[in-house]
Structure formats: structure tokens, C-alpha cells
């Protein structure tokens, strides 16, 4: 498992299976879907950040020529204030439904209130303007520290702080409190020669996928609901629809079309239930699309946060204590990724004395949604900056300080569990030896920074079936929507088992009626878990085909072996047949072979990364230019190295955007003022150098090929690495994200 193996397919770089469709424009994404008799839906959204809905009058909209139906929260089944199980955890059903269509209050600008189905999208849009909504305005609260104040405006009158500890039944915006405690924090700080404590602020940022959300729904006369959409998980859409619509899963089919990016933001449903309600009301298929402003204002950003970090170390570099308080904005409804942030905040280091407190806090912003290593980037911005400062105070190279304290197999994570084999040290060593790190860095206003990051990765359920074709190719059927080339990375694992080229696999992502349950494409799990299922399904094929060979050769099954794509007979009778040749004989030996596997693997194996960045600061304008970037990451085993590099490069650039310019900007009324790609400034290719992605391979013992998920951790280090590089360039510690030009000018005292 962990020794170096020679592979034929794994580690090569075949053309992805869906590639031609995607470079010719033929691939059908959610919004591209067409069906006869289609109506177009449009959602009316709240112009206010916080208000009570006094009344909604839809009569003028309903009377508008071309309008076929209007829905409001009244059309949803009455939602109970109870917990609904959605496979991955519990969600309060009323919150879930109210976020689809507000019933009593609007909690953020952009909150959906009603929707219209009409014969054209323009008519639907015009009709939305004819819906009269009367509001009673309430004061908004937009910042986590303000929301935690005892006299803050309250979003949910019945929300109390949930915690494993003592309960409090006073209404609050603090939805939950969690804590991890290890060792004796006070003793740890007493032992330290240097203690650094700082507060950090991070802004609200969006996943920024280029494809807006979309959904087309249709009810048949027999009650079958079909939803065509782009999503990170067709089954989770089915579960959410079933809960929200109070409709049996057996009557819902979700067809995942190609998806134009997600990064965590296309797990929660928004307009899919709305399309279903409109379809039910009109009896016609209805397509609902968001525009870009809807996406910014109505879908999950990742939370802003306020984080304090206190760390202490001895003169010899040993970190003796680490303490943090993480306050995360959940948005309008509870459920920020503070738990994940708390898990990751000190995870790269082996520290004896740790105290971590986390707070999930509601504010008048869209309900937060997962975004690539949710919570970990916020947390690492604090920790990795303080580690850099400790290194400076101790006069130890920051990379050496990380090597001295870096977590290894057998060390205990700050939240308790013991690490299996991990590759953090190896990422540090790879960075240390890289020509980037060893190159000179000394020009005026140029700076170099490093930072590391951790993400734990997840497993969860995946199903795969494999049909063997007579020509020795296979059709691989899976349920993981392919956002970044996972058809290829999954197919390659099956090909490796069967000893056939990657090109001999036809992978297809199918709907919820056509494959076993498969959890979301997220959590860096798809190449790991669905790949594992493909491996097991291929093993199932091998087992069945051994039996066929035994039948052909009239030998005992145990006397058939399979290696390098060849079946052979052992113990006496000399027989040999390739996978391809045997595939052609299946009909004579008992009929088709279908391999299958379902998996829910533990042991996803954590992922670590270390990044090195060089920046130049324009001290007159406060603008930071990225000059050079190197990211080392433990991928366990890279199945398709090009797409591993791509994940790393993409994650780095999202991190750069978060670090430098991306943020939701609000006015005093709680309205986002930059809800467009013009003013929400994501990096363009002119803002960047090439990103050197260095793959380190420390095999994950929890996967047959050693795979670790790679998608998430690359976004974790960039903000801290860039902050450290800015410090190196101009001697100023930036503690607020984004580190935009105006904030740099302020920090430098120029304005």
C-alpha cells in the first residue's frame, strides 16, 4: 500500500473523457437544457436586509399577459420547526424552507420572496415587479462582533445558543458554541519565552463559479417530479427537495447536467424547489435561472470572521501553547463552517496545550455555504501569520520553525484524534528545496512569505457499476458530478485494475434513478471515494471474469489469476487470455458481467500544503503584485497529475483573490454594493504569474492507490503567505482580509 508501485495508467495524463464535448460547446450544462413547452421562471428578491413581511399581493403579476403562475412561501408545505436529516447532518426544516422562499421575515437583501413562471424570461422579470410586498423594516446587523453584542438586533426570536455544555434560553444571534481543549493552556503560556497575540478580520467572499445556478423542473401527471440541474450532488438535491416539498424520494428524479463550477456553493438548493413549485402550479416544465447579482446576493458566500490567535514558544522554537477564539458569520441561518475552522486552525502543528473556542453567529447576509476547505482559510490566515511573527521574534527561519513543530504520524491533533501517516513535513521539505525558496529575495519593496495549511478531507458514500463490453472496453456508471475532471480520475482507477488503457473506459454520470446513492462532489472526496468504488467495482469484474475463464478452461476458479490485464491458469494447465479476449467470450460463458461496488470509506487522509510567494508592493498605491508562486502539496498519489496541478493552481488563485481584493461590500442599509463581476474583483489572468504546483506523494493508507483528496487545501495558505510576504516587503503586518490597496495605504499611514 505505501511502497512505491509502478502503474500503467495511474500517474499518466490521458485526455479527459468529456474533453471533446467541452471544447466544442456540445456539453449540456444546466442552463442549456431545452424541453418542449418550457416556461421561464424568475424569483423576486428582497430589497431589504432585515424586515418583517406584512403582506404579499401577487394579483397584478398573475394577471399580466404571459404569466402562467406565481408562487410564494404559502405554496410550500407548512414547515415545522424541527430538525431534518439530510444525510450529511441535521438542518432545521423551517430555516431550510424560509431560505427558499421567505415566510415571515426577510433576513438579507436578495432573500427570495416569490417567483413567477411565464412564457419568456423577460415577461417573468416584468411580472416580478408587479408583485406588491409590504415590509416592516428592521435594523440589520452585518458584522459578527456586533451581532454577538447583547443588545444587537435579533434575527430569530427563538434562536438560543446550542452547545454541548450548559444551555441558555435567551434569544441570541450566537447559534452555537464549541470548544476543544488539550493539555493546560496556562501552563503552556507560562513555559513560553515569546507570546504573540493578534486579532484578525476576514471579509465575506463568494465561491465565484462562472455558471449561475439553474433548475428545470417538471411534474408528470402521475406525480413524478423530474429536476434537471447543475449540482454538486444529485442525491443531496433529491433529499433536500423531499424535505422541503414533503414529497417522497421515490417520486423525485434528479438529472445532473454538466456543472460550471461549484467549490461547495452548489450543494445547497435555492431555486430547484422554486422551479418544482412553479412546475406543479403551471403543469408545465419551468426553467429558473439566476443572474449574477442573484448569485452574489442570494447564494452562499463563505463567512466573514473575527479570529483571535495567541501562541507561545520557547527560545528553541518549540511552540508550547496555542489559543484561539473563532467567531464566524453563518449568514441568515445557523451553520457556518466554524467547526471545520476549529478543527484546522492549529492542525499542522504538534502542540501540547491548546484551547479552541468557536462561535456560529447569524447576521443579515445570505446563508453561508461551503467554499473550498470551509473555515480553514480564515483560520490559517490567523495562525500562519502568528507563526511567522513567532519565527521573527525567535530569529528562526519561518520554514524551519514549521519543520520543528510540524505534525507527524502519531501526533495528536489539537482536537484529539491521532494522525495516521500524513505528509506535512514532506511539503515543507519540498518547499525548502525548491529553487523558488533558495533563490535570492532582496529587492526593495519585494517580499517573500510562506504559509502552510491543512484540510481533513472526507469519505462518504459512492456507488459505481461497470458493464463490460465485448470489445474489452467498459462502461463505468457513477453518480459523482464531474466539476474538474473526475470522470477521468475515476475511470483511470478502474482501468488500472483491469489492465486496460484509460481510453477504454466510458465513464458516465447518471441520474438518481440509475445509480446507487452517491454523496456530493465536495470535501475533496470524489477521486478518493468514488475512485475507491471504481477500484472495488473493477475488482468485482475481475472476480466474475476469473470465474468465466475457469469455466472456459475447465479449471477451478482458484486456479485463475489476473495480472497486467491477462487472465491465466496456474497449477498445471497452461492457459492465458487477455481481458479484451475474455470480454468477447462473456456471452458464451453465462452472459454479461456487471461489476458493482458501494463504498463509505473511512480514512480519507488529511491533506497538507505549504506555499511560497513573492510579492511586490507599490508603496504609493498600496497595490500588491504577485511575482512568483510555488505550492507544494501532499496528494497521496496523483491519479492524473495534470488535474491535480490544476486543482492546486485553481485553489491558489482563489486564495490570492481572497487575500487581495475579493469581498462583499455593504452600505449602512445592509445592501451589497458590488454584486457583479465588475466590482467583486476576482483575479483575471493578467493579475497572475504561472503557479508552480509541486506534487508530493505520501500515500494515504486509507486508499488502495494512496489517494488523498486534493481540491480543497490549496486555498488555505495563500492569504497568510501573502500577508507574510507583504510584511517581508514593507514591514507591516496586515491582519484584515482582503489586503486591498486602500487597507495597505491605511496601514502604511499614507491615508
Amino acid at each position: 500500500m505505501s511502497e512505491k508501485k509502478e502503474y500503467k495508467v495511474i500517474g499518466t495524463r490521458p485526455i479527459r473523457h468529456d474533453g471533446v464535448d467541452k471544447v466544442t460547446g456540445r456539453a449540456i450544462y444546466g442552463a442549456d437544457f431545452q424541453i418542449t413547452g418550457l416556461l421561464h421562471g424568475r424569483v423576486l428578491r428582497s430589497p431589504h436586509a432585515h424586515a418583517r413581511i406584512v403582506s404579499i399581493d401577487t394579483s397584478h403579476a398573475e394577471a399580466y399577459p404571459g404569466v402562467k403562475g406565481v408562487v410564494t412561501a404559502q405554496d410550500l408545505p407548512a414547515a415545522e420547526d424541527k430538525m431534518a436529516d439530510l444525510g450529511e447532518g441535521a438542518v432545521n426544516l423551517k430555516y431550510l424552507c424560509d431560505n427558499i422562499l421567505a415566510s415571515d421575515k426577510v433576513l438579507y437583501k436578495g432573500h427570495a420572496i416569490a417567483a413567477v413562471a411565464a412564457t419568456s424570461p423577460h415577461i417573468a422579470e416584468e411580472a416580478c415587479e408587479l408583485i406588491d410586498v409590504e415590509y416592516e423594516l428592521l435594523p440589520p446587523v452585518l458584522e459578527v462582533r456586533e451581532a454577538m453584542e447583547p443588545d444587537a438586533p435579533i434575527l430569530h426570536e427563538n434562536l438560543t445558543t446550542s452547545s454541548l455544555g450548559d444551555e441558555d434560553d435567551k434569544p441570541t444571534n450566537i447559534a452555537s458554541h464549541l470548544q476543544h481543549k488539550k493539555g493546560d493552556i496556562e501552563k503552556g503560556f507560562d513555559e513560553a519565552d515569546v507570546v504573540i497575540e493578534r486579532g484578525f478580520v476576514t471579509g465575506t467572499v463568494h465561491q465565484g463559479y462562472i455558471e449561475p445556478h439553474n433548475a428545470t423542473a417538471h411534474y408528470n401527471q402521475d406525480g413524478q417530479l423530474t429536476v434537471w440541474c447543475s449540482t454538486q450532488g444529485a442525491f443531496t438535491v433529491r433529499e433536500q427537495l423531499a424535505e422541503i416539498l414533503q414529497y417522497p424520494v421515490s417520486k423525485i428524479k434528479v438529472v445532473p447536467l454538466e456543472i460550471g463550477g461549484g467549490f461547495g456553493g452548489k450543494i445547497n438548493v435555492y431555486i430547484k424547489p422554486v422551479a418544482a413549485l412553479l412546475a406543479k402550479k403551471t403543469g408545465k416544465p419551468v426553467k429558473v435561472l439566476m443572474n449574477r447579482a442573484d448569485v452574489f446576493e442570494g447564494t452562499g458566500p463563505t463567512p466573514a470572521s473575527y479570529i483571535t490567535i495567541k501562541m507561545g514558544a520557547k527560545k528553541d522554537g518549540k511552540i508550547t501553547a496555542a489559543q484561539t477564539s473563532l467567531a464566524f458569520e453563518a449568514g441568515a441561518y445557523p451553520g457556518s463552517p466554524v467547526g471545520a475552522g476549529a478543527m484546522c486552525v492549529f492542525a499542522p502543528y504538534n502542540i501540547e496545550n491548546v484551547l479552541i473556542d468557536g462561535y456560529d453567529v447569524v447576521v443579515n447576509k445570505p446563508k453561508s455555504a461551503p467554499y473550498r476547505a470551509p473555515g480553514a482559510t480564515n483560520a490559517a490566515f490567523g495562525t500562519e501569520t502568528v507563526v511567522d511573527e513567532l519565527a521573527e521574534e525567535l530569529n528562526i527561519d519561518p520554514l524551519e520553525l514549521r519543520l520543528m513543530n510540524g505534525a507527524k504520524e502519531g501526533d495528536r491533533r489539537p482536537d484529539g484524534p491521532v494522525y495516521p501517516r500524513i505528509g506535512f513535513i514532506e511539503t515543507l521539505e519540498a518547499a525548502k528545496e525548491h529553487p523558488h525558496y533558495t533563490s535570492a529575495n532582496g529587492k526593495k519593496y519585494h517580499g517573500r512569505g510562506i504559509a502552510s495549511g491543512f484540510w481533513f478531507n472526507i469519505g462518504l458514500e459512492s456507488s459505481v457499476t461497470i458493464n463490460v463490453n465485448p470489445d474489452g472496453t467498459i462502461n463505468l456508471v457513477e453518480g459523482s458530478t464531474d466539476i474538474g475532471g473526475t470522470r477521468a480520475s475515476i475511470a483511470m482507477q478502474a482501468a488500472e485494475v483491469l489492465g486496460i488503457p484509460a481510453e477504454s473506459v466510458n465513464p458516465t454520470v447518471v441520474d438518481t434513478n440509475s445509480i446507487g446513492y452517491t454523496a456530493v462532489t465536495g470535501g475533496s472526496r470524489t477521486t478518493y471515494a468514488t475512485g475507491y468504488a471504481a477500484y472495488e467495482a473493477a475488482q468485482d469484474v475481475v472476480k466474475q471474469m476469473k470465474a468465466r475463464a475457469a469455466k472456459l478452461w475447465e479449471v477451478d476458479e482458484d486456479n485463475v489469476q489476473f495480472a497486467d490485464g491477462e487472465f491465466s491458469s496456474i497449477n498445471g494447465k497452461e492457459e492465458q487470455m487477455s481481458f479484451r479476449d475474455l470480454s468477447g467470450k462473456l456471452s458464451q460463458t453465462g452472459g454479461p458481467v456487471v461489476g458493482r461496488a458501494t463504498m463509505d470509506p473511512a480514512g480519507a487522509g488529511g491533506a497538507f500544503a505549504t506555499h511560497v510567494v513573492d510579492v511586490e508592493v507599490d508603496v504609493e498605491t498600496g497595490k500588491v503584485e504577485i511575482l512568483r508562486y510555488t505550492a507544494t502539496q501532499d496528494a497521496g498519489k496523483a491519479i492524473h497529475p495534470s488535474y491535480v496541478e490544476g486543482q492546486i493552481q485553481g485553489g491558489v488563485v482563489q486564495g490570492i483573490g481572497w487575500a487581495l481584493n475579493e469581498e462583499y461590500i455593504y452600505n449602512a442599509e445592509g445592501e451589497m454594493t458590488n454584486a457583479s463581476f465588475l466590482d467583486y474583483r476576482m483575479p483575471t489572468c493578467l493579475d497572475l504569474p504561472m503557479i508552480d504546483a509541486v506534487i508530493v506523494e505520501v500515500p494515504n493508507p486509507g486508499h488502495p492507490y494512496g489517494v488523498r483528496g486534493v481540491g480543497e487545501v490549496p486555498i488555505v495558505p495563500p492569504p497568510a503567505a501573502i500577508a507574510n510576504a507583504i510584511y517581508d516587503a514593507i514591514g507591516i503586518r496586515m491582519t484584515e482580509l482582503p489586503m486591498s490597496p486602500d487597507r495597505l495605504l491605511k496601514a502604511m499611514g499614507k491615508i
Binding site: D85, G89, D166, I267, G339, P370, V418, I483, G522, D600
Partner: protein, 91 residues
């Protein structure tokens, strides 16, 4: 015997102990054993006869989805941590 690491916020129920050795061969048995030693703990970890949906169980360092009847090795170390729903990354 299995060891349960006690979540920080309920150590007031275990006299400050951060880990407790318990008896039992299944998740249900070890939790019941913990409850016998430290009354009130089960209600924090379970929702009726199941692990509370907001809690994730780590067995020997690995996040493992368990049911109450699942077996537990005699030398297992169990952590009850906040459940992290899936779905962060892009793939």
C-alpha cells in the same frame, strides 16, 4: 478497554476528566458505560438511541460513520467532535 475522549464542554460532567476508560463491545455499550460512570453524558452525545446528528465520531483518529450497534475494538479510542458536513471543495 475502549477509551472515550471527553469533549471539552462536558468535562464538567466527568469531574474534569478528559478521557475515560469504559466497558463495552459496541458504540451503545460504551456510551451506556460512560453514562453509568458519569450521568448526563449520554444525553449530550445522543439524540434518543442514535448519535446526535451534530456529532461526528472518530475511532482511532479516523472519522467513522457509526450506528449504535456497531462493534468497537477493545483498544479503540473514541472522539466525539462537531460533525463537519461534507462538501467543501471542487472535487
Amino acid at each position: 478497554m475502549p477509551v472515550i475522549a471527553i469533549p471539552a464542554l462536558i468535562r464538567n460532567l466527568t469531574d474534569g476528566e478528559d478521557s475515560v476508560t469504559v466497558e463495552g463491545a459496541t458504540i451503545r455499550e460504551v456510551i451506556n458505560s460512560l453514562e453509568d460512570q458519569y450521568p448526563g453524558t449520554k444525553a449530550k452525545l445522543c439524540d434518543g438511541d442514535r448519535i446526535h446528528p451534530s456529532i461526528g465520531v472518530y475511532i482511532n483518529g479516523v472519522l467513522t460513520r457509526v450506528a449504535m450497534h456497531d462493534p468497537v475494538d477493545t483498544d479503540a479510542e473514541l472522539h466525539f467532535l462537531p460533525a463537519i458536513s461534507g462538501g467543501g471543495g471542487s472535487s
